[in-house]
Amino acid sequence: MATYNTNEFRSGLKFMLDNDPYSIIENEFVKPGKGQAFSRVKIRNLKTGRVIEKTFKSGESVEAADVLETTLQYLYTDGEFWHFMDPQSFEQYAAGEAAIADAIKWIKEQDDCNVTLWNGNPLIVEAPNFVTLRITDTDPGLKGDTSGGGGKPATLETGAVIRVPLFVQIDEVVKVDTRSGEYVSRA
């Protein structure tokens, strides 16, 4: 089993703590002039997303987390699991609702997603930064308004609701920034 020494700590390093995988956000070396050194780290729990601070004695080892980030293609959902495929190996992976939570309202079949795998299971599914989705419902709005001021709600084919300019109509395809949930342009 691979381990990391505290002197290998750097941001992005992933290790196990209390049976959960964590990723280091920040690492600070602390050393009193006449005392022993330790590492203060800010770490993110990769299962829950929660950020905590921990202090390790210098020279201690932690167990490396078997965590891999990869790109998988979204295939379909059976209502309980969301199924993905590795486009190279054609291997399939099933993500539970906790893993897909944030991405669920943005992705549609055949989208490529960043997936964090832990021991071979999807831990976090991230939607692509930009997605293009069809509008299934929105108020017709005023003809000739090109200012876009104010905007209106629109429902996308995935069920997500975003604000779009008044001139955007049903059945049009729009580009959305999934990080902010904002309309970018007509696609």
Partner: protein, 322 residues
């Protein structure tokens, strides 16, 4: 790449020059003699928490290199001068510590170290405070003084001297410490001080912490009144550890015992044991006058004076750019 450039601005380097000149002026005014001692030595401080950097020397015509250590502080040669009758002395020099690199650490750094004959640690605390009030322009008032055990009790709720091992472990776990498999009480106390008292210190200007626990005596005398504590102090400014001072241990046998205990700690940790400075021990046998001494981190002082956050911002060329 711009890595050939200094990481400190020219303005900060000018500030460094005036800081050094103010320090020299302070001591000249008080009749403290400036000295220089060798940076390399065939012996080293065995302190298990400090690791020296290695150098070497080949005598003329020889290809065999004799191991030399870069000093981790100028303490031993300066004490040899004191034992030889130098009177009160100060030195501004570079010191080197292996494995120390971070926001407040560069492996090569500038130390101001000085010794005062016939001073105890309390008198030296007054002088450190006087110097820092001059050098830190926004610190016009004297530092607050607190005993280590008092701060420990206030901020951890635990009595330094009577707390049980399990209580220390529980408190440490509660503040986010990942407790190693075998851990010494000493380490738990150090880490709790850092995590519980540290944040409070960061909100203060100057604070002098004194009467350190005897386990952290290092090279200081134990208190004659209360042998649970050592006559050692530290000066913190906005939480940054700036200076560490001792009423100096003068007992050669006790000094050798502490050195050997440190070497034993090194051996247990799987580190190399270090050759002891026999010249220094002989000087103690000859007789070190009663004195107190303190080492002050000049780079950190400059950081505080310039209001910067990273030691790299006050060094012409930090370790990464050497």
């Amino acid at each position: 790449m711009n890595s050939w450039r200094p990481s400190a601005s020219i303005k900060v380097l000018q500030e460094r020059a005036s800081l050094l000149s103010e320090i020299r002026h302070f001591f000249a005014h008080r009749d403290v003699l400036e000295v220089e001692t060798p940076v390399v030595s065939s012996s080293a401080n065995p302190d298990a928490a400090i690791n020296p950097m290695l150098s070497g020397f080949c005598s003329p015509g020889s290809h065999r290199s004799q191991a030399l250590y870069l000093q981790t502080s100028p303490e031993f040669p300066m004490k040899r001068l004191l034992a030889a009758g130098s009177g009160s002395i100060f030195q501004i020099c570079h010191a080197f510590r292996n494995g120390e690199c971070g926001r407040l650490h560069n492996p090569e750094f500038t130390l101001l170290e000085w010794y005062r004959i016939d001073y105890d640690h309390l008198q030296l605390m007054d002088e450190v405070d006087a110097l820092l009030m001059q050098l830190l322009h926004d610190s016009s008032s004297a530092a607050a003084r607190h005993r280590y055990a008092d701060l420990f009790l206030t901020h951890t709720g635990l009595d330094l001297f009577t707390a049980e091992y399990v209580q220390l472990c529980e408190k440490a776990e509660a503040v986010g410490v990942v407790i190693p498999e075998s851990v010494q009480t000493e380490w738990l106390i150090e880490v709790l001080f850092e995590l519980c008292v540290g944040p409070w210190l960061q909100q203060q200007k100057g604070v002098i912490v004194y009467d350190y626990p005897a386990a952290q005596a290092s090279l200081s005398q134990l208190s004659a009144l209360d042998p649970r504590v050592a006559e050692r102090f530290e000066y913190f400014f906005e939480g940054v550890e700036l200076a560490n001072g001792f009423h100096e241990l003068a007992d050669a046998d006790e000094q050798r015992r502490r050195f050997e205990a440190e070497n034993l700690k090194r051996q247990r940790a799987g580190d190399e044991q270090l050759p002891l400075d026999e010249h220094f021990l002989q000087a103690l046998e000859h007789g070190l006058p009663d004195c107190s001494g303190v080492a002050l981190g000049v780079d950190r002082l400059l950081m505080l004076r310039c209001g910067v956050d990273q030691i790299q911002e006050v060094l012409a060329f930090p370790f990464e750019r050497t």
